[in-house]
Amino acid sequence: MPAWLVKLLFLPVEASSIAAEVDALHATIITVTMVSSLAVFAATGWMVLRFRRRAPNVTTPHIVAKRSHEAGIALALLFLFCAFWVVGFRQYLTIEQPPDDARTVFVTARQWMWKFSYADGRSAEDVLVVPRGAAIKLAMTSRDVIHAFYVPAFRIKQDVVPGRYTTAWFRAEKAGTYPILCAEYCGTDHSAMRGEVRVLEPVDYARWLDDPSRDRSGEQDLVSRGRDVAVRRACVTCHSVGAGTTTTGPSWAGLYDSYVELRGGTRVLADEAYLTRSMMDPNADIVSGYQPVMPTYAGTLDASETAALVEYIESLREPRDPGVALPKVRAVETSSDGGTP
């Protein structure tokens, strides 16, 4: 959309791949809004002048609508509104479905901060660093109340709900720094729950990744943390992680992104939401051929452990992990300042 129009509508800069088309629909509907309300105003104003009362107690003609006219107007309006909906809903589907090549960043929200955990094990508070042009998928959960992840410049918003994973994705197209806001009221400092996305040019991003000054001790990537959690919490007693072995629970090997057949015949996609649900509420979906014997892990696994487990299961997409490595006890929390390029 032209820059002057973006400015006229007070919109933030269009920094994501979907922003321009969303704004185009925005401008269209707002124009129709302005025109129709002014048209109604003008029509009433004209009629007040044209048909003003010139004498009291006059009679007026009995004019009533023809059914066909009414139906015509209703259908025309329905068509117009449905046209808006078709365009809007198609955009919505794009915004809701992350592309296959998206890289996942785990987001944990709590009163009143954001925490971003990258697949390589780093994590940072309130600052999300991403390369320009790459699709980034956010797998988000909250540790307390509902928050909402909102980047106005990307035109995306997604509630972040405790006890479940929600996802959002974006492809940033302009390097720069954009505010992250919490859009779901979450208590006293709701308006202070801010972060920022730093969109780096790919070369800068590569440099940031390899930053030699970064302290790597104590860092552990999410997959190996997830493997540790799986051993520590005895998940692997029941779930095999290699191919071919049948145990009490379904195997994790090749589970992620596959369709799972449930008792009763329905099939569900084993995505982040399914995996989290299965940990927190195991009896919600019973996999066909297995017994409902798994206890709930709600309250046992914290958000970072859950994220690590999901990432670990994701890494088992191809059945190539020969088994469980030696359990090593490591610090649970790792952190680094991921924010400084």
Binding site: T44, F51, R52, N57, P162, S191, M280
Partner: protein, 566 residues
């Protein structure tokens, strides 16, 4: 039928109050003058006035809070209150305006006053339940206010879980207050539905009822069917917050999103509880001041029912960002468009009604024109947010705040003011000053527009609602909005002033000052206790302007044998 004091009043008053002595016939206003005769009245007109005083008080209270919020936003940081107070003030503003002003505003005042008269009845079907509903309303309101003073409430009027279960504020009494107020709403709705079906005068078919009755009837359906769900969810929140059962708390196996479904199942239709009666007022005012039959009576009546029913199927559009499935989002998006179609049909019909009319631009009609402009604008922004993808940017921002204020203030409050001026002569027996009325109307429009139009732009710019701190670049728009709010407040005070003056010093109103054909104008101003000295014949429709006044009156004359004397 008698128009003297009712039995209740005679026995209740310690000293029999003066019966009308002069030539002036008694009205419902003079029929008993003790405090007791008001507080124990079963007369729907007096109960309507009791409601009017209460809802006006809460409009005033909610308005003061709104001004406090606007003043706070004069600067991006702390201005006149802390974040802690700010969160309580915006919650209080929302709760008071929604549950104590907007929902009862038109139905419980004008609906209560006019519905029995418009169907030719002496009262509602259950006069004592009508009084009970006012007391229940007061009890709920008292509990709410008590909660506000003792601990406050900081959850927002939406009470989203699990925050409301953990909030340190007085959630339990507050939600129980809302629960109690809900009972009042259900009883009023039930009373209206039964009255419409059982108390219509002879010859008054459903399709001959004034359109305002259709609007109130549709509203009542929503009140009766949707409010129990709100009551249920409020009780569950109280259990969560008070006893810690964790029904909506995921850390104890509950589901926070389930609450949103339950809450919006009521609270979206509640929007139509607010706007449908407003549409009813518009449907009365336009034919009267254009002296014209509505372009399509059926379209207005059926679209009211259409809005009432499809309104039940759109709640999910509040949850596009909550993580609902794409199928849900799509379905709720397109169902929301249906409501827009029904609303737009009404607008077309209203505007077309003016065509070839004999239009007198009085204060009520001026408010209706303001309504039309703001309602179309606000409604179309509703279409915009229902277009799913756009909502992802606008959800929970000032755009949505502006959108629903356009509907609730620009729509419902404006129509409330239209109705207030339109029926003022009937209710009080006095005329207000037309000149000041029009001036105040222009001020209300200007104040409103300057307040809320900038908030659309704030939403576009990405400012979330319920924000205490905001980015400094948003300050100019906030300052403009605050100036508008002060203007709107001043205009409302002006209206309070001149209507109060007119109440005492206003010219005596004739029975039918506007020359309307609608049935409430067939009786005296103010009406007698049992509404009509003699039940008129409902020979003509309520919008028949094809014959002159004298002819129309002759058709409405009561048959001689049924004539009761004062």
């Amino acid at each position: 039928m008698t128009a003297t004091a009712t039995d209740l009043d005679v026995t209740a008053a310690p000293v029999p109050t003066a019966a009308p002595t002069s030539a002036k016939p008694s009205s419902y206003l003079t029929d008993g003058t003790t405090v007791r005769s008001w507080l124990l009245t079963t007369d729907h007109k007096r109960i309507a006035l009791l409601y009017f005083v209460s809802v006006s008080f809460f409009l005033f209270l909610g308005g003061i809070l709104a001004l406090a919020l606007r003043l706070e936003h004069l600067t991006p940081g702390p201005t006149i209150m802390s974040a802690y107070t700010y969160n309580r003030v915006f919650t209080l503003h929302g709760v008071i305006m929604v549950f104590l002003f907007l929902i009862p505003s038109i139905p419980a005042t004008f609906g209560n006053f006019l519905l029995p008269i418009m169907i030719g009845a002496k009262d509602l079907a259950f006069p004592r339940i009508n009084l009970l509903s006012w007391y229940i309303y007061l009890a709920g309101a008292a509990l709410l206010i008590w909660a506000m003073i003792n601990g406050g409430l900081d959850t927002g009027w939406t009470f989203y879980t699990p925050y409301s279960a953990h909030s340190p504020s007085a959630v339990v009494p507050a939600v129980l207050g809302v629960f109690i107020v809900g009972w009042s709403s259900i009883l009023t709705g039930l009373n209206f539905i039964v009255s419409v079906h059982t108390l219509r005068a002879r010859g008054l078919r459903l399709m001959k009822m004034p359109l305002f009755v259709w609007a109130i009837y549709s509203t009542s359906i929503i009140q009766v069917l949707a409010t129990p769900v709100l009551g249920l969810s409020m009780v569950l929140v109280a259990i969560d917050a008070g006893l810690g059962w964790g029904i909506f708390d995921p850390s104890r196996g509950g589901d926070p999103v389930l609450f949103q479904h339950l809450f919006w199942f009521y609270s979206h239709p509640a929007v139509y509880i607010m706007i449908l009666p407003a549409m009813g007022v518009v449907s009365e005012v336009i034919p009267t001041f254009a002296r014209k039959v509505p372009y399509s009576y059926e379209a207005i009546a059926y679209s009211a029912l259409g809005i009432a029913f499809t309104g039940f199927l759109t709640w999910g559009h509040h949850m596009f960002t909550a993580g609902i499935s794409a199928v849900d989002a799509g379905a709720f998006g397109i169902l929301s468009m249906m409501v827009a179609v029904f609303s737009a049909i009404k607008v077309f019909t209203w505007v077309a009604t003016l065509y070839k009319g004999s239009i007198s631009l009085t204060t009520p009609l001026a408010y209706v024109f303001v309504f039309l402009f703001l309602f179309v604008f606000g409604g179309m922004t509703g279409v915009a947010v229902a277009s799913t993808s756009l909502d992802l940017h606008w959800h929970d921002t000032y755009f949505v705040v502006a959108h629903f204020h356009f509907i609730m203030v620009g729509g419902a409050l404006t129509a409330f003011l239209a109705g207030l001026h339109y029926w003022f002569p009937k209710v009080t027996g006095r005329m207000y000053g037309e000149r000041l009325g029009l001036v105040a109307c222009v001020l209300v429009f200007a104040g409103f527009f300057v307040t809320f139009f900038p908030q659309f732009l704030l939403g576009n710019a990405g400012m979330p609602r319920r924000y205490y701190y905001y980015s400094p670049e948003h300050q100019p728009l906030h300052v403009i909005s605050t100036i508008g709010a002060l203007g709107l407040g001043a205009a409302l005070l002006l209206i309070l002033g001149y209507l109060g003056w007119a109440l005492v010093y206003g010219e005596k109103a004739p029975d039918n000052p506007w020359g309307s054909r609608s049935y409430e104008w067939l009786t005296r101003s103010p009406p007698p206790t049992h509404n009509f000295d003699a039940t008129p014949r409902f020979a003509l429709g309520p919008y028949d302007y094809t014959r002159p006044d004298e002819d129309a009156h002759a058709h409405a004359e009561a048959p001689a044998q049924g004539h009761d004397h004062v």
